[in-house]
Amino acid sequence: MKLGTKIIHNGHEIDPYTKGLSTPIYQVSTFAQESLDHFGRYDYSRSGNPTREALEETIAQLENGTRGFAFASGMAAISSALLLFSPGDHLVVCEDVYGGTFRVLTSLFSRLGIEATFVDTTDLANIRGAFRSDTKGLFLETPSNPLLKITDLAGAVELARERGIITLVDNTFMTPYFQRPLDLGCDIVLHSGTKFLNGHSDVICGFAVVSDADLAKRIMFIQNAFGAILGPQDSWLVLRGLKTLKVRMEESQSGAIAVADWLSRQERVIEVLYPGLAHHPGHDIHAKQSSGSGAVLSFKLESLALTRRVLEGVRMAAFAVSLGGVESIISYPARMSHAAMPPQERDARGVTDTLVRLSVGLEDAEDLIADLDKVIN
């Protein structure tokens, strides 16, 4: 079955009791039991809820994993996955990782005795060089946020595997529609489901997906013990959002390609970062491991004054944090997604104060370009 069909037909498209064409919202905390010795499949919604489970099984299928887990936010998913590690464990992390991930690693997990080294993972030699005898995890984003840097997943996994290191990939920008890291040997896929998976800028949620049965067991334990789960209403909204994943990703991507091409031709735009551009560093690697270039692009403008004019002047794209919605969203990484990173760390990574990130939505590309034309030129 093609992925586009699997999005709609995955065993959860019809309610088994009523044959309704949508999963019911089980807004319930607890489930009555029929036997003292054998509890039913559900006992308490933190441990398992049918609506959340439908969503978890759907995301697991789309990522070609065996188990999916839904959390209250992308950060809750990432934090829960990081609880797999113990004091004394060391992690290697891509350097322009999402600011929220950077923050939780450097201010909370560091206190629990988990150390992280940030390196430019576009060069596999840097990953190899950063591995130590106590390294237990490799945390990657490809394309990264907001610089759209590409990491060779299969190459990175090979390095990690032979040392028994777990590879975690934040697949938020691509979604399984374009990229399936588990197929490339990665161990854990993480998502801010808030973005393209839900796709409507209306729900905060996160996912972890695995194939390995032992990892699945450990994450399930953490999800239940730590309790940072996604509620049933939100789970249902994400199931609803997911149904249009294919059409949204295709349409947003074609808009992004058109906008990236146009931006590349503008004098006041110093640089355009988008994996779909032939000259984008890592373009070939990305083409090998993904079936699309996605709908997020970043660009650097000639001056701070112009940057301000663009952010405040665009009408089509909402000036806001987040991305991946039906609405185009323009944001300013230095003060938004990466505000949690100290300024010198940001500059060193290339997240400068003239960098703008654009998440292309479902508006007509011509309207978006006309809007940008007005503020840039």
Binding site: Q33, I222, G231, D234, V321, S322, Y332
Partner: protein, 377 residues
């Protein structure tokens, strides 16, 4: 203002544009910025959402604290509080603790070199003698689960203040309607709002209230970083539930008193734990510090065979985990809520194979008593 009035007022003054008397459900992930460096006060729902904030402000007011925080579950709330501590810190904890909290402490956080000593917190001297140089906090259930031991919050809070310990009170069984730990000197209250606060067995939620403004900043930092937040729909449902907190609890307590008296005179009940009974060891203390005794009852039956009979044969009362809702629920702590506690500890505490826990709902007391009577036969 009286608590029952405050509870009804939650969110009432929020919407000035339309005059709606309930807070709108802001099912949004992100908020548009008016300009560069400007914010409406809301940027991204993980960091702050108006619906969730109405709930957070509401519980802070009910508890007389500075700031409230809402989480995806009670366990997520407690887990977030544990992130206040660092490696080597020691906590003193109520011994007959909810099994989920025990699991979180022992199976998740102990690996980060946090250590826990479990004592009978209804005995202030037992708490005092458990304090060590590295002790940082006392985590106490105001009314314990399932044995309904009463903690002297005023004395414990004084002890904590004298020795520089944080006094954290899990006030789930009493709620601010019956007990306000912050008024008695505690620093933090935490709730599984799934229970009485939401009160309908339909929403999972956790709440925290902090008294000190600086400590509240740290709790906020952790809430935003880890991202285990409560979604807007569930926030709204919790607010909705809280509006009937006082009427539900009044009725539940009245029902509980009648059932406890009936059980007391039943030949097949050998022991009963209900603080509303004058011979309960915590009765006088609750009379002094609280405005009620709650609606949880634990009791031992004469014979193990009666356990299964009661669980299976009750019709009005459902056999299910959880508690505090409008529906009455009966559970078997040894096999359900406290299954994660080691058997020898359970036995020492009195959580044995003839102990049942009853969460009394708002049904008519006569029907509940008749239901129990027919199940005993």
């Amino acid at each position: 203002m009286n608590i029952s009035t405050q509870a009804v007022q939650i969110g009432l003054d929020w919407e000035t544009r339309t005059g709606a008397v309930t807070v709108p459900i802001y099912q949004t992930a992100t908020f548009r910025h008016p300009g560069l460096g400007q914010s409406t006060g809301y940027d991204y729902t993980r960091s702050g959402n108006p619906t969730r904030q109405a709930l957070e402000d509401g519980i802070a007011r009910l508890d007389g604290g500075t700031r409230g925080f809402a989480y995806a579950s009670g366990m997520a709330a407690i887990a977030n509080l544990l992130l206040l501590f660092k490696r080597g810190d020691h906590l003193i904890v109520t011994e007959d603790l909810y099994g989920g909290t025990y699991r979180l402490f022992e199976k998740v956080f102990s690996q980060y070199d946090l250590s826990f000593t479990y004592v009978d917190t209804s005995d202030v001297e037992a708490v005092r003698s458990a304090i060590r140089p590295e002790s940082r906090a006392l985590f106490v259930e105001s009314l314990t689960n399932p044995l309904l031991k009463v903690a002297d919050i005023a004395s414990l809070a004084t002890l904590c203040r004298d020795l520089g310990l944080l006094c954290i009170v899990d006030n789930t069984f009493l709620t601010p309607y019956l007990l306000r730990p912050l008024d008695l000197g505690a620093d933090i209250t935490v709730y599984s709002a799934t229970k009485y606060l939401s009160g309908h067995n339909d929403t999972l939620a956790g709440l925290v209230v902090v008294k000190d403004a600086i400590l509240a900043e740290t709790v906020y930092f952790n809430q935003n970083s880890v991202g285990a937040v409560l979604g807007p729909q569930d926030s709204w449902l919790t607010i909705r539930g809280m509006k009937t907190l006082s009427v539900r609890l009044d009725r539940q307590q009245e029902n509980a008193r009648r059932i406890a008296e009936w059980l007391q005179s039943h030949g097949q009940v050998r022991k009963i734990y209900y603080p509303g009974l004058p011979d309960h060891p915590g009765h006088d203390l609750l009379k002094e510090q609280a405005r009620g005794f709650g609606a949880m009852i634990a009791f031992e039956v004469n014979d193990q065979s009666l356990v299964e009979r009661l669980l299976m044969k009750t019709k009005v009362i459902s056999f299910a985990e959880s508690l505090g809702g409008v529906e009455s629920l009966i559970t078997f702590p040894e096999g359900q809520t406290h299954a994660d506690i080691e058997p020898e500890i359970r036995i020492r505490l009195g959580i044995n194979n003839v102990l049942l826990r009853l969460s009394v709902g708002i049904e008519d007391a006569d029907d509940l008593i008749a239901d129990l009577a027919q199940a005993f036969e």
